[in-house]
């Protein structure tokens, strides 16, 4: 065999192997998706949205309590996390820039983005649940807020830096003070990017289970009082899926399907916003 033939042979082997591994990976992922869709569609019905949790064996069980609980917990987390992250990101991009302090904050926040979320749950347990003496929706929202801040901070920082400095200079030349330049020029220029960051941040925290296990805990009934334990879709999935009751497991699949569709939709919307911006 000549040298060239050998190279071509090795090339072909590697190409086949990597295509195969791509196919294997994609097959596994398709398997998970199809299982999710098949079980989810099978379990979904109108009653799920109308009824609260019920004891196993009761055909009238639903997910209303978990859906509403999830919505409340994530909404409060968004309410706290978004302004916090945007302001901190504004500092990094507009004031701190390349200073030592800003670089340290960037690095630490980046590391926090990948830190184990269950540890955040333990932290919130120590500062909120233990002093209060019981699990609560607030504790859950605070845990999710802490997870969301680094994501919003990072995207805001990146997106504000993409705004051309000539725009800022033009506004300064007109005599505008810095805060007005930031609010009226820089924020506007980076609107789509910031919005994408928010959508991705919400999508990320909406799928978090571990930090809610011992903060907002769970509740089999509808509760809108944030000072009490509150159900969430994710913890409900965990509890129902690990229960031995078939009807609960079925509800678990329905919850898993609803949650995944919600998160995928947010992700796709986020991408569309960015694409639209690039297209302009």
């Amino acid at each position: 065999m000549t040298h060239t033939q050998k190279r071509i042979l090795i090339n072909n082997i590697v190409m086949v192997l990597s295509t195969l591994s791509a196919i294997i990976g994609i097959c596994f992922l398709l398997w998970i998706l199809s299982v999710l869709v098949a079980n989810g569609l099978d379990a979904i019905s109108a009653t799920i949205f109308m009824q609260e949790g019920a004891p196993p064996g009761n055909i009238n069980g639903g997910l209303k309590h978990a859906l509403i609980g999830q919505l409340i917990i994530v909404s409060y987390a968004t309410l706290f996390g978004v302004p916090f992250g945007i302001l901190a990101g504004t500092y990094l991009s507009e004031y701190g820039q390349k200073s030592k302090l800003a670089e340290i904050i960037r690095d630490i926040s980046d590391i926090m983005m990948s830190a184990p979320s269950i540890v955040i749950g333990a932290f919130v347990y120590a500062i909120v649940v233990a002093p209060m003496g019981h699990f609560s929706g607030w504790a859950g929202s605070i845990a999710l807020t802490i997870i969301m801040i680094p994501i919003i901070l990072r995207t805001t920082d990146d997106m504000l830096q993409l705004v051309p400095s000539t725009l800022r200079e033009a506004a300064f030349a007109l005599g505008a003070p810095k805060y007005k330049v930031i609010i009226q020029v820089v924020y506007r220029g980076a609107k789509a990017g910031i919005l994408t960051g928010i959508l991705l941040g919400v999508a990320r925290v909406a799928g978090e289970t571990a930090p809610l296990l011992f903060t907002s805990f769970n509740n089999n009934f509808l509760n809108t009082n944030m000072s009490e334990p509150m159900a969430s879709l994710t913890v409900t999935i965990y509890n129902y899926a690990t229960s031995p009751y078939e009807d609960w497991q079925k509800l678990g699949w329905a919850a898993a399907f609803i949650l995944s569709m919600f998160i995928l939709t947010l992700n796709i919307l986020g991408r569309l916003f960015l694409l639209k911006k690039k297209g302009k």
Partner: protein, 285 residues
């Protein structure tokens, strides 16, 4: 007046940015404070002791640490080659028309919550492991495989991004010299993007070691060290997820807090290595 608002705005953004730092420091301090009781009671033996018996107030974390290391290791040896394959496929083999949709679907799969992977593992993968290896199917091996599938999309996406940083002109020059695709990957892309690729793997490792939900379903939370990978086991996050809400003594709580602190320190170190050694972030502008 404008001047005043300007100062207020500047200072409040700075304070809020500083709060981020304080928050991280606070997390370490609080976890440390709550671990004190356990640190005093067990000292260093907490890490090496193999006995975890809440009813006897005896807490040794070694089985959990061992489980975290082994399950993550299993996940990595399966996910690394496959994600390199997917990354090569996405950056060099796939047709242009396939590249974008395939790339986006991989990224979307990375966004699916880990609780879903865990649930799939429990209902569809555990029975397969049970049929092949016997036992109950809930095991270290199952956890490693489910974990590898969960980190696969993330790993493939970041590896592909690292490979894509190779300038086209370098690749084209190699093709012009008659290089095969494999020659280009091996002699141009991998040497050029080496740091980024390794950094991506370590970053994925940092995520895998702290991952809770994908493994909690399928690992069993059994504090025993067994050479047999088909036996149930536990890991740090699995122990936390299963036992935190049920702990009934202050020493028990304190031991769980020490586990959290350990996990945070481990993943913080791993992610820092990835960030500072391999992925020195290139600033825009």
């Amino acid at each position: 007046m404008n001047n005043f608002i300007d100062k207020v705005f500047a200072h409040s953004t700075k304070i809020i940015a500083l709060v981020v730092l304080l928050l991280v420091a606070w997390i370490f301090v609080v976890l440390f404070e709550h671990s004190l009781e356990s640190i005093k009671a067990f000292g260093f033996s907490f890490i090496v002791d193999t006995k975890w018996a809440p009813n006897l107030e005896k807490f040794g974390a070694f089985p959990a640490i061992y489980g975290s290391v082994i399950s993550t290791f299993l996940a990595m040896i399966m996910a690394v080659p496959v994600s390199i394959g997917i990354a090569i496929f996405l950056s060099e083999i796939a047709h242009v028309k396939l590249k974008t949709p395939a790339g986006i679907s991989i990224e979307l799969l990375a966004a699916i919550p880990s609780v879903i992977y865990g649930m799939w593992g429990l209902f569809y993968f555990v029975p397969i492991i049970r049929d092949i290896f016997g036992g109950i199917g809930i095991s270290m091996l199952t956890a490693g495989i489910v974990l590898s599938i969960m980190i696969l999309p993330f790993m493939a996406a970041v590896t592909r991004d690292a490979m894509n940083t190779t300038p086209d002109i370098l690749k084209e020059s190699a093709y012009a010299l008659g290089g095969t695709k494999w020659d280009v990957v091996k002699d141009i892309i991998i040497p050029y993007a080496k740091a980024g690729i390794i950094g991506s793997f370590i970053l994925a490792l940092g995520r895998a070691i702290g991952e809770t939900m994908a493994v909690t379903f399928v690992m069993g939370n059994v504090h025993k060290i067994s050479a047999d990978l088909t036996q149930p086991a536990t890991s740090i996050p699995v122990t936390l997820a299963n036992e935190f809400a049920e702990a009934d003594s202050t020493l028990y709580y304190s031991s769980l807090f020490e586990l959290s602190l350990l996990l945070l320190v481990i993943s913080f170190s791993i992610i820092s290595i990835a960030k500072f050694y391999f992925l020195r972030r290139k600033r825009i502008a």
